[in-house]
Each structure stands twice: as C-alpha cells, then as structure tokens.
C-alpha cells in the first residue's frame, strides 16, 4: 500500500478511484463494443474535459485551504469574452490575448482574495457574489452575443501536436512524449528507492517497483499508441498537453514546496498554522487568486475549442470541478486532498459522461447517474472513516508495503527509571 500511496501521493480513497476509473473504462469498452478506447474518442474526451480538469486543479487547493469557489464558471466566461473582444477590436495577436486573459484572471482573483482574506467574508459568499458579478460582466461586455476568435487562438482549445520529422506512421512528437514520460516514471522510481537507503529505511520489495513501473509504462505506452495513430492531422491534443504540464507543476508545488505545505496547514488547523508562523491570510489570498487565473485559462481553452465566446459559457462548471475534487478524496472541512486525486476524480466523471453518451443514454439519466456516483463515492469514504476501518480497496492493497504497527503503550516505569539514572 505504501508504495502505491507514494506513487499517487494520497490515501486509500485515491486507489479506489484509480480502480474505479480503470473498471469504468473497461466496462464501457466492452459495452460499447470497443468504441471507448479509440483515438478519436480519447481525443474528444481530453478536449472536452480539459478545462474542467484545469479548474479542478485550482479548486482542490481552494478546498484544501478550507474554502470553496463558486465563481469559476463565470470568471472563465468573463475572461473568454474579454479576450475575444480585445482580439477582435484591438487586433491583438493570439498570445497577447492569452496574456490579457491571464492578467484579468489575476485581477479577478485579487478582488475575491481580498474580500475573503483581508475582510474576512466567507469564500462561499464572496464567490457566490462573483458568480453573479462576472456572469453579468460577461454579458455586458459581449452584449449577450457570441464573439468569434481568430484561427490561431483555436489551436489552444482544439489543436494537436504537429507532425515533425520522418514519416513513421505515428505522430512523432506524441511518441517522444510517451517515451519521455516512461523514462520519467522509471527515473523517479529508482530515485525513490535510493531515498529509502539514504534515510536508512527498508525499501519496498523489488517486485513492487517493477510491477509498478511495468503497469504505469504499459498504460502510458498504450495511451501513446492511441493518440499517435489517430486520423492524419490529429495527435495528442494541445489542451491535454497544457493540462499535463499544469498537473506536474501543481502536484509539485502542493506537495514539495513551502507554499504547498502552508496551504495544507491552513486547511488542517488554521490557528495552529498561524501560531507556527504561517501567514494564513496570504495563503487564502493566493489560493483564490490562483483559482481565478486557472479559471481564466480554462475559459480561453474553451473559447478556443468552441471557436467563439458566448454568454452562457461555463455555466455549471464550478459544480463539475467541485464534484471532481470531492470524488478525488478531498474533505469538505479542508486540509485533505491532492491534485492528482482531483484529476482522477475529474476523469471518472468524464469517462462516465462519455461512456453513457456513447451508449446513447439520455442527458436525464446521465445526470442522475453522475449525482449518485458523487454521493456514493463520498458516502463510502465517510462511512469508512466513521467506522475506523480501511476501505475495501485499502484491504485489497494491504499486502503492499509495510503495515503500521499499533502504538506501543507508554511504559512509564522504564522511562522514569531510565531518566532517573541518567540525570
């Protein structure tokens, strides 16, 4: 268990979600007669969900810090329309449009962060207000009409890695990307084994590492194969690439840096964090600002994909992002959650959506099923916690790695006699 835990950086709930994800994919692959794992479908899945997953990255940090952000859909829509309008009216190139969008996101985030962190209004209220405000701004700026964006900008939301190098029958960049990822997986695993030795601990059995590397590389190579062998002109989608880069950056920041530690500390126990020297207001401000920047980015990607910005972009996105985060193992009370877990949670929802669509199940049933999945996933976790038991997946996995021994009761007698003789 420990080794998988270290791989995915989370609790048993996340293994559960990984298995659920794999099971779902297999289920739909069989039920749709092989229509799920096709290059086109996978590309659609990534293109159509990357913006929700990007929101989930920001949202999990907000939720870990003990807040919530309901405004992300409206912020995305506002950023989208502003970018579309400035590119049309001021003739800005696409990259300047992106810069304008990100700056606007930062500004909006600063506004919301200010009210939450420095005025002390609950984020629920501030972002509920923001949801109305920025939806209104979107419709004001766009005059409730749709504004198209230039061709180059569409690359951001619907582009693919270009064809370069010799004609191999595969998309070369995608193949390289896949191989690089495999290399990284192997390197990181080796490094982790070395770390165990460095701190004088017993590394997990060798076969655990080999199985882990094998499984992960197989998954990556299969995905690479799918993405590299699609129709001519398609390959790994650009939004997927942006998402991947963001996941790596944010997973790193949240788990390996001081800022990341501080976000968890504030969510876990705000007062204790403050008395430990964490400036909790700054943390609140940063997570909300970051969320709005990512929302602006998600809005731009969506606009790129749908070729135009409209008055109803991003409606309901906040709920999808929040659902992804909670399915991915975050706690409503804060302090718990991971970036990778939220992405898995988001993918579960995405695969569910996609699979049900392929099966021709209507929007009504899809909504009902998604609602139940969210409820059951969290209920399962709450139930397990209240019983003090491992989850079912936890039990299945318990032969992996070392099990924690129960705490040895304090043998005060020995301690005292020891101290007495020492002093």
């Amino acid at each position: 268990m420990t080794s998988l835990k270290q791989l995915f950086g989370g609790d048993t709930r996340q293994f559960g979600m990984i298995f659920a994800l794999i099971a779902l994919v297999v289920f739909f692959q069989i039920m749709t007669g092989g229509k799920t794992l096709t290059p086109t479908n996978m590309m659609n899945l990534f293109n159509g969900n990357s913006y929700i997953l990007i929101l989930a990255i920001g949202m999990v940090l907000v939720i870990i810090a003990g807040h919530i952000d309901l405004s992300v859909g409206s912020v995305a829509a506002f950023a989208g329309i502003v970018v579309a309008v400035v590119m049309r009216d001021w003739n800005l190139p696409w990259y300047m449009g992106v810069v304008v969008g990100l700056l606007l996101g930062a500004l909006i985030g600063a506004w919301q962060g200010f009210w939450v962190a420095y005025v002390g209004i609950p984020a629920f209220i501030v972002t509920l207000a923001g949801m109305l405000l920025f939806r209104g701004f979107n419709q004001y700026v766009g005059q409730s009409t749709t504004v198209p964006v230039p061709q180059e900008f569409r690359y951001l939301g619907a582009g693919y890695l270009p064809e370069v190098g010799p004609v191999t029958g595969y998309n070369n960049l995608t193949v390289l990307l896949g191989l690089a990822l495999c290399g990284a997986v192997i390197y990181l695993e080796m490094r982790k084994r070395r770390r165990f030795e460095k701190v004088g601990a017993q590394p997990p059995a060798q076969w655990v590492s080999i199985v882990k590397i094998g499984l992960l590389c197989a998954a990556i190579l299969y995905a690479t194969y799918l993405f590299a062998t699609g129709n001519r002109g398609t390959s790994f989608p650009v939004p997927g690439l942006i998402l991947g880069v963001l996941v790596i950056i944010y997973a790193f920041v949240s788990s390996k840096t001081i800022v990341g530690r501080h976000v968890y500390a504030v969510g876990g126990n705000r007062h204790a964090a403050e008395l430990t020297g964490v400036q909790s207001k700054k943390v609140d401000f940063l997570v909300l600002m970051n969320m709005s920047i990512l929302a602006a980015l998600a809005g731009m990607i969506f606009v790129g994909r749908s070729t135009a910005s409209g008055p109803f972009d991003g409606v309901g996105w906040e709920l999808d992002a929040i659902a992804a985060v909670f399915i991915g193992g975050a706690a409503v009370t804060g302090g718990v959650g991971t970036v990778v877990g939220s992405i898995i949670g988001g993918l579960v929802m995405a695969v569910l959506n996609n699979g049900l669509q392929l099966l021709g199940i209507g929007a009504d049933m899809t909504q009902i099923i998604k609602g139940l999945v969210l409820l059951v996933a969290v209920a399962f976790d709450v139930y397990n916690k209240s019983q003090g038991k491992r989850s079912i997946t936890g039990l299945l996995m318990k032969n992996f790695g070392n099990q924690a021994k129960p705490e040895v009761p304090t043998d005060t007698k020995k301690v005292i006699s020891h101290d007495a003789t020492v002093s």
Partner: protein
C-alpha cells in the same frame, strides 16, 4: 454511610484490534461514595468509563455490569442515562450559542401541548443552578460564562436527569484553583445526598482530598483499590500504584547555570481583541536570563496566555504599547514569522485546537515551523524531514512506530513531545511554554521537565506558564505572578511557596 454496592463491574475485558485495552478489570462502587480512578494516560480509564456508559455497547466487551442490583446491558449513552448513569466528559458537550436553560434541557424539553414550556424550563433551571451553587441567569448563553461555570452547568444537567452515578472525566483539568475547589465541594455535597461519583483525575492532591476510595489502573489491569481512610493513602502511595514504584523525585535533578539578562519586556499593554477598552495586559515588565527557567503563575484568565501570545508576534489582542529588548537591542515583533526569526517559540496550552494539525503526520509537524531550513531552492527535502524528525523521536523518546504516523494517533504526552520538537527545530533563544504538561500523565511529565531543563542548560531562556503551583515551584528559577493582566510579584526559587504565590496571584499590586 450505608455500605451497599451501587455498581459492580465484573471482569471487564475490551479488545481493540491488536490491543487489549482492558484486561479482566473489576470495579465496585459503594452507594454515596466518591470513587477515584487513577492511572496514566492510556492505562484504560476512559475505556472503562465508555464501557460503563454504553459508548461501547453491550456485546463489544466481555464481562458483566451490575447496577443497583440488576445486570444491565446498555446499548448507548441514552440507555445508561435512563438508568441514572451520567458521564461528563473532559471536553464539555455544551452548545455555546444556546442558553444555560436550553442546554440543560436539550433533548429533554418539557412540553405543554407539544410546545416547549419555557416557564417550566427556566424555573427548573433556576432550581438546578441553585443546587450546584451557580448564580447565573438561566437565559445567559453558554459562551458568555467561563469554563468553571460551564462545568457546573454540566452537573446541573446531570442532576436534571435524576442521576444516581455521576462520572466525571478530568473535571478540574481546565479549572483554576478556586473553581476546582468549588467543584470538589459540590461533589462532596452530592455525596451527602446519596449520589455516587466516579472521578477520573490526574490531580492527585484533589483525589487525596476528596475521594473515599481509589482504584488504580495500569496497562489495562485494575492493580488495586485503596480505601482512603483505612489505608492511609497519600499522593506518593497513589503514584507508587500508578507507575509500579515510587518516584524519588517528581522533578529531575538539575543545577541551573544562569547567565545574563537577554530578553526584556517593558510596559507591555495589550487590549482585548474585541472589547477595545478592556486591557488584558497592563504595563507588564519582566526579564529572562540565559539558562533560566522563569515561571508565570496566575489564575485562569489572569492574562498569562494573553501576555505570552501578544509577545509572540502579536498573535493575540490589540497591541497598545510596550517594548521588547533582546540582547540589549529593541526588537519589533509584528507577526509570528518575525517572532520566530528573532528566536522566539511559543508552545500553546491548547494542543488540539491551537498546537497541532491533527491531519498531519509526525515528520511534517516536526519541521513545520522551520521549513526553510530543509528547503533546497524550491523543494522541501523530504529525506531531511524524515531524518530530522527521527532524530527528535529518538532524543525525546516519542513512543511511535515511525515518524510517518499521524499525530492524532499519539497520546497527549507524545503529542506534546512532537510539539516541543517542532519548536526545538527552530533553535529558539526563548521558549514560552504554556501549560506544557496539561493532560499528560506522570511519567511523561517527568520527561517533559527533563527536556525543559536540558533546554535551559543549553543557554536558552524558558518561560513556563502553569496552573499547577507545585510544578512551577519545582521547575522555575524565578516566578512572576500575574493578576488581572498586571505583574504583581517576583519571587526567587527558595523564597516562593504555594502560599505566598497564591497571595500574589489573587491580590492586586496595592494590597500585596
């Protein structure tokens, strides 16, 4: 006193996965007595009480419970309360936003035609409050009265349920001396009215004072039951039972090596965070020397914690005026990070809500206050983190299988060691320890005292705030007394005793 037995717990065994929490424990309580249960943290006292009150329902343990001559099988707390057994937990279960009366009758409201009969609620509350000697309006909100009075409300609530056996878990842990005394008097009052009490407490002097009999539990086994009057029990006798041998000294031997004054606070004045014209610190001035343990004595609410926290980066109250000098230079500590950078450390009195992130594990808690030290570039070095935490685990003898464990799994004493490790890792010059041994058993206390003395020997200044005067007297080289936010006295080791400290703690400067 009549001698019939009200409660008989026979051969109770309770197992948790991997741990036998109670091993064949028997307990017998006579009607109208105060029966103390002593034992270290983790000895099984609370587990035994949870079995008795139905928190662990019948069937989850082995053994029989006979109450008032009948075998009882409680399903939950409700069924044990219906039988007349009421447990009052250490963490009070009152709702701050509701009134005293509402809290007392919560879940048990008298109704008339289906509507709560408030006249009856308030009248009965008045009566109950009179019985516990609490002079408060029944419509006062719980949040507006102190912890001592809240404890009395809990007892009034128990009385409203026609209690026959009252269980008090650490009833005086959070109370000051006078509130504790009031509570103990109230317990003897209940005893004379035929209500039996079981009392779990670490405060041996109180047990010695009030209990009729004492059952000592060690490692899940009932070691012995002592009758206070017949057996001539004193504190040392109880300690001997708890740890299995007597302690020659409750404080480690220590020769102080005191240097120059290096830390000084002058005319420190701080206002209450919400009530602007109420001062919680009034013109307080004090000094700390290198290698010195300085005690701060004061009743609860006297302003000890407020003083400490306002110095520690203004983390409490509104700063009004005052100066801090360190090594002769004035320093300005406007927030906690600045205080840490200037070599201050503050260990809070309230470990669970202010000291620890209970979701966190030991290793990341240990390094939390000084992450910079183990950060290379951007990356927190997790190997360093593990090694540092493991080093502290060994030197402080924290009982845990590994530093990867969550802090919530540790006992109070071991949690406190982790908190101390966290601050030791910042390598502070001045440690402020607020109630460093609250809720910690005797053995761990001894260890914490040892750590404090070692820190002083390294040339650090240590401020110890404590409600337990024997602890302050045993530990401190010098003691300041605080009353209503002002420092009312300063006594050197040797000059101080419980009596003159208490006088200074309760009188203002003028009458002292």
């Amino acid at each position: 006193m009549d001698n019939h037995t009200i409660l008989e717990m026979q051969s109770i065994t309770k197992e948790f996965p991997g741990v036998k929490a109670l091993d064949n424990v028997s307990l017998s309580v006579t009607a109208g007595e105060i029966h103390a249960i002593c034992g270290e943290n983790g000895a099984g006292k609370s587990t035994l009480m949870k079995v008795l009150s139905g928190v662990y329902p019948h069937g989850t343990y082995n053994g029989r419970i006979v109450f008032q001559g009948q075998e009882v099988q409680f399903k939950d707390i409700r069924s044990s309360e219906a039988a007349g057994i009421v447990i009052i937990h250490q963490e009070l279960a009152l709702i701050p936003e509701l009134s005293i009366a509402e809290n007392i009758f919560l879940g048990n409201e008298p109704t008339r035609f289906g509507v709560i009969d408030w006249d009856r609620v308030n009248a009965s509350t008045q009566e109950l409050l009179a019985r516990v000697g609490l002079n408060e309006d029944p419509i006062t909100k719980i949040k507006d009265i102190g912890v001592g009075k809240q404890q009395l409300v809990e007892i009034a609530k128990a009385l409203s349920k026609s209690v026959k056996l009252l269980i008090l878990d650490e009833p005086t842990a959070a109370l000051n001396e006078s509130d504790s005394q009031h509570l103990l008097d109230l317990m003897s009052g209940l005893r004379s009215k035929g209500i039996s009490c079981i009392m779990i407490s670490h405060k041996l002097n109180e047990i010695e004072q009030i209990a009729d009999s004492i059952t000592i539990i060690r490692d899940g086994k009932a070691i012995e039951t002592l009758h206070v009057k017949n057996d001539g029990v004193d504190e040392d006798r109880i300690i001997r039972g708890m740890v299995g041998r007597s302690l020659e000294s409750r404080f480690p031997e220590h020769t102080p090596d005191i240097g120059e004054v290096f830390f000084e606070v002058r005319n420190w004045t701080v206002a209450h965070p919400r009530v602007a014209d109420r001062l919680v610190c009034k013109n307080a001035s004090f000094t700390v020397k290198r290698g010195e343990v300085v005690g701060f004595a004061g009743l609860m609410g006297a302003g000890r914690t407020e003083l400490a926290r306002s110095i520690f980066g203004r983390s409490y109250g509104n700063f009004k005026s005052g100066q801090i000098f360190k090594d002769g230079k004035e320093i300005h500590l406007r927030n906690v990070p600045q205080a840490i950078d200037h070599g201050l450390a503050y260990v809070t009195e309230d470990r669970k809500s202010l000291g620890l992130n209970l979701l966190d594990d030991i290793k990341s808690t240990t390094v939390a206050a000084n992450l910079k030290k183990i950060t290379n570039g951007l990356v927190v070095d997790e190997d360093q983190e593990f090694l540092v935490a493991d080093e502290y685990r060994r030197t402080l003898r924290t009982k845990t299988p590994s530093v990867n464990e969550g802090v919530s799994k540790l006992s109070g004493g071991n949690q406190q060691k982790v908190v101390l490790a966290k601050w030791m890792f910042t390598d502070p010059d001045l440690l402020i320890l607020d109630e460093p041994t609250r809720g910690i058993d005797v053995g761990a206390k001894f260890e914490i005292y040892g750590i404090i003395q070692r820190l002083a020997n390294q040339g650090k200044g240590v401020i110890v705030i404590s409600s337990e005067l024997p602890e302050l007297l045993g530990l401190s080289d010098r003691i300041y007394t605080i009353f209503e936010g002002a420092i009312t006295g300063e006594l050197k080791r040797g000059d101080a005793d419980q009596e003159n400290l208490m006088k200074l703690m309760t009188a203002s400067r003028k009458t002292a």
